[in-house]
Structures are given as structure tokens and as C-alpha cells.
């Protein structure tokens, strides 16, 4: 309760409704001014700048992280793209090599085939020629044999040897016919 010092000037706790006791106003005003200014200084100089700095720092940190993430994403996309490019190039080169090899082999095969065919054709021609020669020789022998046979027949029938030249011409004529 009130100390004796305050009760000496005015009886403080009997003036009706407490919030309207004007003898307490100076104390309240004094302490309100003191505490409010103290709180204002503490907030304005210490608390609010610090919290503001924390919030700014965090915002910056988040923005930086997002930016870094974006950068990494772009880098990874670039790496992906270059990988795809390299893959496509390698595939194209592989196809080119495969195509060239195929063509080369096909060309070699064609060449070998042609060579074989030519060889076979040659051999066939040689064989045909030899057959033809053999037949011609055989046919030539047929004429000689026929002439001899005709001479022998005529000798037996006529009793004398006919002129070989004539018989041969006649036989050749008959064979031709």
C-alpha cells in the first residue's frame, strides 16, 4: 500500500474511481514516457533491424539457392543435350561405317561373282569349241570313211577301183545333202 511519503501531500487512495485520480497522473506519465521511449529505442535500434536483416538474409539465401538450382538444371539440360547430340553423331557414324562396309562387301561379292561367271563362260566356250572341233574332226572322218566304204562297195560291184577323187566329191555331195 501507499507509503507515508505520498500520503503526506494528498490522501491518494480515497479519490474515487482509481483511473481518474489525478494525483497519480504525473507518475504514470513519467513512467509511460520513460518505458515507451526505452521500448521504442530497443525496437528501432536493435530488434527490428535485426529481424529485418534475418528476413532479408533468408530471402536472399532462398533466392540464391533457387538461382543455383536453376543454373544446375540448365547445366544438366545442356549436358543431356550434348549427350544426345554425341549419341546421334555416333549412331550416324556407325551407320555410315556399316553402310560403307556393306557396300564394299557387296561390291567385292559382285566382282567375284562376275569373275567366276566370266571364268565359267570362258570354260564353257572352250568346252564348246573343243566339242565343235571334235565333231568337225569326227565329221571329217565320216567323209573319209564313207569314201573308203563307197570305193570298196564300188570295187566289189564293178570290179575295178573307181577314181578316189570323184567318189570323194560325190560322197561329200551326198553328205552335204
Amino acid at each position: 500500500m501507499a507509503t507515508t511519503a505520498t500520503t503526506s501531500t494528498a490522501p491518494p487512495e480515497q479519490g474515487g474511481f482509481p483511473p481518474f485520480q489525478s494525483q497519480n497522473f504525473p507518475s504514470q506519465l513519467f513512467w509511460l514516457a520513460l518505458t515507451f521511449v526505452l521500448l521504442y529505442v530497443l525496437m528501432a535500434k536493435v530488434a527490428l533491424p535485426r529481424i529485418g536483416a534475418i528476413l532479408t538474409e533468408r530471402g536472399k539465401h532462398i533466392a540464391d539457392d533457387l538461382e543455383a538450382a536453376q543454373r544446375f538444371k540448365e547445366r544438366s539440360e545442356a549436358a543431356q543435350a550434348s549427350y544426345q547430340e554425341a549419341l546421334a553423331a555416333a549412331r550416324g557414324r556407325a551407320q555410315a561405317i556399316a553402310g560403307a562396309e556393306r557396300e564394299r562387301q557387296a561390291a567385292a561379292a559382285t566382282k567375284m561373282q562376275k569373275r567366276l561367271e566370266a571364268e565359267l563362260r570362258e570354260r564353257l566356250a572352250a568346252a564348246e569349241q573343243s566339242i565343235g572341233e571334235t565333231r568337225a574332226k569326227a565329221m571329217g572322218n565320216v567323209g573319209a570313211i564313207a569314201t573308203d566304204a563307197a570305193c570298196a562297195i564300188l570295187e566289189r560291184l564293178v570290179g575295178k577301183t573307181p577314181p578316189t577323187q570323184q567318189v570323194a566329191a560325190t560322197v561329200a555331195d551326198v553328205i552335204k545333202r
Binding site: M1, A2, T3, A5, T6, T9, P12, E13, F17, P18, P19, F20, Q21, Q23, N24, F25, P26, S27, Q28, L29, F30, W31, L32, A33, L34, T35, F36, L38, L39, Y40, L42, M43, A44, V46, A47, L48, R50, I51, G52, A53, I54, L55, E57, R58, H61
Partner: protein, 250 residues
Amino acid sequence: MHIDPIEQFQIKNFLPMMSVGSHQIAFNNAALYMLIIVAAVSVLFIGVTTSRALVPGRMQSLAEMTYEFVAHTLRSQTGAEGMKFFPFVFTLFMFILFANLIGLIPYSFEVMAQLVVTASLALLVFFIVVGYGLWKHGLRWFKVFVPKGVPIFVLPMIVLIEVVSFLTRPVSHSVRLFGNMLAGHIALQVFAAFVLMIGGYGILGWFGAVMPFIMIILTYALELLVAAVQAYVFAILTCIYLNDAIHPGH
């Protein structure tokens, strides 16, 4: 048993300090609670932010959210130019909010149930508005009393009304807070007195006392809301008044 619901608002001088003229200045319970308010606000906004944690703890989150809430309220009312008043509005809001919340602790003292305190704060806002308005805009600031687009023949009337409403702002501004706090604390005290009075009538009285006791709980919950809402109302009205000083032409 006599319980005086007004007794809780009594100023109790602990220590006389000095006299200025015929006025006594003393350290009293109001002063004690004002210091407690300053200490509590400082703990929340300075004590828990010393680590400056990038990932805030629970209390630092609370401090940051309060900061952003007040900043957002002020900016939405006054725009970016009003942010120079941010420390003032923040201090005012926190001082009143903590006064009201600490005042709700049983046996404590409600600083804002003293008319001289709320009137001082309201007058402080009033003079800051007038002073900053005149300093910033000169005599053009008086355009704040002349709304745009009003027909010339009703203009004198409107200006008169505007001036009167402007001058009465400190009254409504301060009495709203004072009255709410006073009434709430009286209501709590009256219900508490009922509990004791009815409870004094033996066993039956104990059951009878349950009703006012429940009322205390409900009223207390309501008063918690009122404590915060009135602090917010005081702060947002301050923002609106400051907007008049910053943008007098609307």
C-alpha cells in the same frame, strides 16, 4: 465478504522518487508493469533473435511473423512511404498488446485500464499526425479536411464535420482501448466475486458457484481475444491516421 471490482485499478505507490512543482512522481505498480512489458517485448524480439538463425526456432518464428504482420498492416494502409513509422507503430502495438496480455494474468495490473495512459498514447499519435503532416506538406496538408468531389455549397459543412471528427479522434482512440480493458477486467472481477459470495453458502453454494465460474472461463477467453483485438485496433487506427499525414489528398 466485500470485493471491490475497482480496487484492481488502484495505483499503489511503492517508492516516492521526486516532486516536480506540486506533483509527486513515484515508482508505482503501473511503472512496475510498464517495465515488465518492456522486458517481455525485449525478450521476445531481442532475446530470441540473438542467434539470427537462418532456420528459425519457434520463438524466432513468432517474432518474425509479428514483424511481418505489423509491417504488412502498415504498408497496406500507408504504402511504402509510411514504413518510416514502422518502429513507432510496432512499439505501440507491442506495448499495448503485452500490456493487455500481461494484465490478464491474475493478480497483475492492467496498464491500459488507465485513461491517462491510453490518452497519452492517442495524443502522441494525434500530434505525430499533425506535426508530420504540416512538416511534410506545409499548409497544403489542410486539404485533408476538404474531400474531393463534394459540391461547393455543402463543402463548408463537410469541412466542419471533417475538422470535428479529426479533433475527436484522440478521444475515441483512447477511450475505446481504456473502456474495453476496464470493462473486461471489471466483468472478470465481478464474476469472481460471485463465485466467492455464492460459494460462501455451504455445499449448495458450491454448486451454485459453478455458473459464475464457467462465466469467468468464458469471459477470460473473450478477454484474451479483446486484449489482442484492441491492441490491433489501436495500431491499425494509428496506421489509418498516419496515412492522413502522409497522403492528405486521399
